[in-house]
Amino acid sequence: MSPTTSQTRKRVTIITEAVIENVLLEDVEKLGAHGYTVSEARGKGSRGVRSGSWGASANIRVEVICDDATAERIMSHMWEHYYNDYAMILFAHDVEVLRPEKF
């Protein structure tokens, strides 16, 4: 297989409160993600400013590369269990990846 025969997967990005990092990542893995990337974030939304300077106001950005089915599961799970109570945004788009079997 050469680097030019890549394939398409979904990249799901979740930006949410840092306090729920552990539960969120547990859920994401249970839903079929093979891995994830977490980074710190800060910003502002309908629930106010998340300045990121200390625990309660810190955000994280979780990125998952997965197939369409897993992306669907993640999105509906977030919708059902997190969207009502937590500051969270989620968006997904198609990406081209190398070694698609890893996702």
């Binding site: 409160e17 306090v19 729920i20 539960v23 710190e40 629930r47 106010g48 400013v49 300045s51 990121g52 300077s53 200390w54 625990g55 309660a56 106001s57 810190a58 009502n84 109570d85 937590y86």
Partner: protein, 311 residues
């Protein structure tokens, strides 16, 4: 005469309110709270090495009882007078039944600054008071329902940053004793005041952020944020008297009863009772109660304790 650490807090609040270009990096905040928690634990532990903890058991039980009952004082007021939703009332009640380690540190600094002695094993009380109110609060919010993630709660509560570092510091201080702790004395003991000053500068900035949110939530939170600590301080003074503590000890216990958590309880509630509005509780405990206690409360509780001790 102002304790220097208070001035740093005021600087932080002023800078925050004026939107100064002062950003505190999260790792710095984390580092300072690490140091603070460990230092407080260490000091308490060293004292425990001197004195048998078994003797303290009755005191610990009474203090734990106080922590368990405080949320029941706050909850009705929040529900009936504040007309808050059940989850919000339970959350705020839990915040006020628990303690603020930062406020404790300032109380200790206040007493040291004035050369007033106090029972050095008080960090043990801080540990004991952190937890019961959270459990009561969750019970008030949810009842004893199977829905509640009790295991997750236990993990968050007993393995949260505050408890781990406080208890860890206590155990290490206890194991090392006064002599064993000498090599690390320069960082954790000698520099404590300076670290606390920086920590309060950061807390001032954070509190300023919460103060700006206050406008939206009306007078009740402000009133509760000042009234509940006062009630708590009276209860704490009574308990301290009952336990026969010194003047300094009375001030500390009153301050503990008057303080409201803003680290351990918010984190626990965010996970277990997510329907509770985090802004309400943080605004009250960080925007009103913490500044009030730091600037006016502690001197007030000192006067109350002095009056009661007849000095």
């Amino acid at each position: 005469m102002f304790d220097p650490v208070i001035l740093f807090f005021i600087l932080g609040v002023a800078a925050g309110l004026m939107r100064a270009e002062l950003r505190l990096p999260a790792p710095v905040y984390e580092f300072l709270s690490f140091l603070l928690l460990l230092a407080i634990g260490l000091k308490g532990g060293v004292e425990l090495a001197r004195q048998s903890p078994l003797e303290l058991l009755p005191q610990i039980v009474v203090i734990a009882l106080m922590g368990t009952l405080m949320p029941f004082v706050a909850y009705p007021v929040l529900r009936l007078v504040g007309r808050l939703k059940r989850a919000d009332a339970a959350s705020i009640a839990a915040h006020y039944g628990s303690v603020s380690v930062g406020t404790f540190a300032v109380a200790v600094a206040y007493l040291t600054f004035r050369g007033i002695t106090y029972e050095e094993y008080m960090p043990l009380f801080v540990v004991v008071l952190e937890v019961p109110a959270i459990i009561i609060g969750i019970f008030l919010a949810r009842g004893v329902s199977r829905d509640t993630a009790w295991r997750r709660m236990a993990h968050e509560v007993f393995l949260g940053k505050s408890i781990v570092l406080l208890v860890g510091g206590l155990l290490i201080g206890w194991a090392l004793g006064a002599e064993g702790v000498e090599p690390i004395r320069p960082l954790f003991f000698d520099l404590f005041k300076g670290i606390l000053a920086l920590f309060l500068l950061e807390m001032g900035l954070i509190a300023a952020g919460q103060i700006q949110v206050l406008r939206r939530h009306g007078l009740f939170l402000v009133g509760f944020g000042i009234g509940m600590p006062l009630v708590g301080a009276v209860i704490g003074t009574g308990v301290a008297l009952m336990l026969g503590l010194s003047l300094g000890g009375t001030v500390v216990v009153a301050t503990l009863a008057a303080s409201a958590s803003y680290i351990a309880v918010p984190a626990a509630f965010r996970l277990i009772v997510p329907e509770a509005n985090p802004t309400l509780s943080l605004t009250a405990s960080l925007g009103v109660t913490f500044p009030f206690n730091i600037v006016a409360g502690i001197p007030l509780y000192h006067a109350m304790a002095a009056a009661v001790h007849g000095s």
